[in-house]
């Protein structure tokens, strides 16, 4: 069954490639001003790899974007998860923070971009702020739900045994909430990439979004495609890494419980 699926998958990818080539290069049904041919894509890729585009090489743009995503994501995770855990632990904190969330949450993170630019300019700080906003909410909500779903007897038993506070958090709360937290992290990561690309499209001096922005202004479809493929690959790679981390963390968890 797996063989059949993989076979059809490969055939699909191959036929998409052939269709792309046929439409753009052989028949010319699709004008190369609208969508690049494989050859043009190759030329653009070669150009940015060897001579650079929009002020830097592809690696430099990609590393810059990746750095911002990782930083924004990390800040959001390290502030969001503790707040979520605390909200799950103490109902007063939940009651206090929830109304603020209710007011702020309906505003999409992307709507913060103009304000972030007004406050922090076109540099890295504005992007990190917007990514933080985007990635913060899923982290908080899932950590909170993770704590709330812990079976009460477990906590009562631990408390009866006189478990100190920090051990309680480290050995009971955090591991039990871990599956939910990782779900939140995946949403946070996705939100981080979307926001970063948008923020870089609105205003930046380097980065993958800036490649897209320049290529759009130059009406350079080949380079647009290079930028999109780069965004896709980096998004995939970071998601894969997170999946690996989740696999390890949760495998340890199950082993510890058994």
């Amino acid at each position: 069954m797996v063989g059949r699926r993989a076979g059809i998958g490969l055939a699909t990818v191959a036929s998409v490639g052939v269709t792309w080539w046929l439409l753009t290069s052989v028949t010319g049904i699709v004008d190369s001003a609208r969508f690049p041919s494989p050859a043009e894509f190759g030329v653009s890729l070669n150009q940015i790899l060897t001579r650079g585009y929009a002020g830097a090489g592809l690696a430099q743009h990609a590393v810059h974007s990746l750095k911002l995503v990782v930083m924004g994501f990390a800040v959001a995770v390290f502030t969001g998860i503790p707040l979520g855990l605390w909200m799950g632990w103490d109902r007063r904190v939940e009651a206090c923070v929830n109304p603020i969330f209710l007011v702020i949450r309906p505003i999409p993170p992307l709507a913060w971009i103009p304000l972030a630019i007004l406050w922090l300019g076109l540099g890295d700080a504005a992007k990190i702020m917007v990514i933080w906003f985007a990635a913060f909410v899923p982290s908080v909500i899932n950590a909170f739900a993770g704590v709330r779903n812990i079976d009460r007897p477990i906590i009562e038993a631990a408390r009866m045994l006189g478990t100190p506070r920090w051990r309680m958090v480290r050995e009971i709360i955090a591991p039990a909430a871990a599956p939910m937290i990782f779900t939140g992290l995946r949403l946070s990561l996705q939100a981080s990439w979307t926001t970063l690309v948008a923020a870089e499209l609105v205003g930046a001096l380097v980065g993958l979004g800036f490649i897209l922005n320049m290529a759009q202004q130059d009406i350079y479809p080949g380079m647009i495609l290079v930028g999109m493929v780069a965004v896709g690959i980096l998004g995939w790679a970071t998601t894969w890494l997170l999946g690996q981390a989740e696999h390890r963390a949760l495998a340890w968890n199950v082993a510890a419980r058994d």
Binding site: G9, W89, C96, I100, P108, V197, Q216
Partner: protein, 262 residues
């Protein structure tokens, strides 16, 4: 969790404390002149600016007119995403071959953030109506497709076997067995789509549009009118919330109707 649930008055009290702290901090920062007004206007200034925008135009139109033009694009994009995503998802749930063909393409495209389609969308459909509609489509399409597909895929096998034994054809199978069973999942997907679509709309308008709330905010940012930017954010938040409430109402209505029917 180990505490008893708070009473209503306790909840209200703590909630009020939270909001008061936030508003108080905001007012304090602005009233003392610690933060320049150009940087962060006071809550009162934002409220005044918001009401002014309701009647006097900024960036070519008043706030309600900007909102209307945004909402029109949004509606086109989401309706298009639902009209293509839901049927395709159902078909993929029924025809294994289609599933095997579409899934690899879909998986490859999924990792490209919807906003990254902006340059191509602008190139293909312009920046007026078509471009932003395509971005909204790119944001709203995946949940429609995935949820319709999952809903159709996880129909109880007994139902399908029974229908198959009665000689049900493909079309009736999809319309009368898979679709009704998938409705809860589809509705949940629509709510996610609506939220993501609204978010994509804001992004698209910030980057390429020549009208709409996002455009208004970019113009305000260009002329350092922080109060106008914040008014735009409030308007976006309110409309986004209204959309979600409306969909939730629709979901409840559908549940009740189905409950009565079956």
């Amino acid at each position: 969790m180990t505490q008893p649930p708070l009473t209503l008055s306790q909840r209200l009290g703590w909630g009020l404390l939270g909001v008061t702290l936030l508003l108080g901090l905001w007012t304090l920062l602005t009233a003392t002149g610690f933060v320049p007004q150009q940087f962060l206007p006071s809550p009162l200034e934002v409220a005044t600016r918001f009401t002014t925008l309701l009647t006097s135009p900024f960036a070519g139109a008043t706030l309600p007119v900007h909102l209307a033009s945004s909402f029109q694009r949004y509606a086109y994009g989401v309706v298009l995403a639902a009209a293509i995503g839901i049927p395709l998802g159902l078909l993929m749930g029924w025809f294994r071959l289609l599933d095997d063909i579409v899934t690899p393409i879909f998986d490859a495209l999924r990792f490209i953030a919807p906003i990254a389609w902006v340059p191509l969308a602008a190139l293909w459909f312009g920046t007026g109506m078509g471009g932003p509609v395509m971005i909204i489509f790119a944001g709203a399409f995946p949940p429609c497709l995935i949820n319709a597909y999952r809903g159709a895929r996880f129909v109880e096998p007994r139902l399908i076997e029974a229908a198959r034994m009665l000689g049900t054809g493909h079309i009736r199978m999809i319309l009368e067995i898979l679709l009704p069973a998938a409705v809860p999942s589809i509705i949940a997907g629509l709510r996610v789509s609506a939220g993501l679509g609204w978010q994509s709309l804001v992004g698209a308008e910030l980057i390429v549009a020549a009208a709409g709330v996002g455009f208004m905010m970019v113009q305000a940012q260009g002329s350092v009118q922080t109060a106008t930017v914040m008014s735009g954010m409030i308007a976006i938040g309110v409309v986004g919330m209204a959309i979600d409430v409306a969909l939730r109402q629709g979901e409840g209505w559908l549940r009740r109707r189905r409950g009565l029917e079956s």
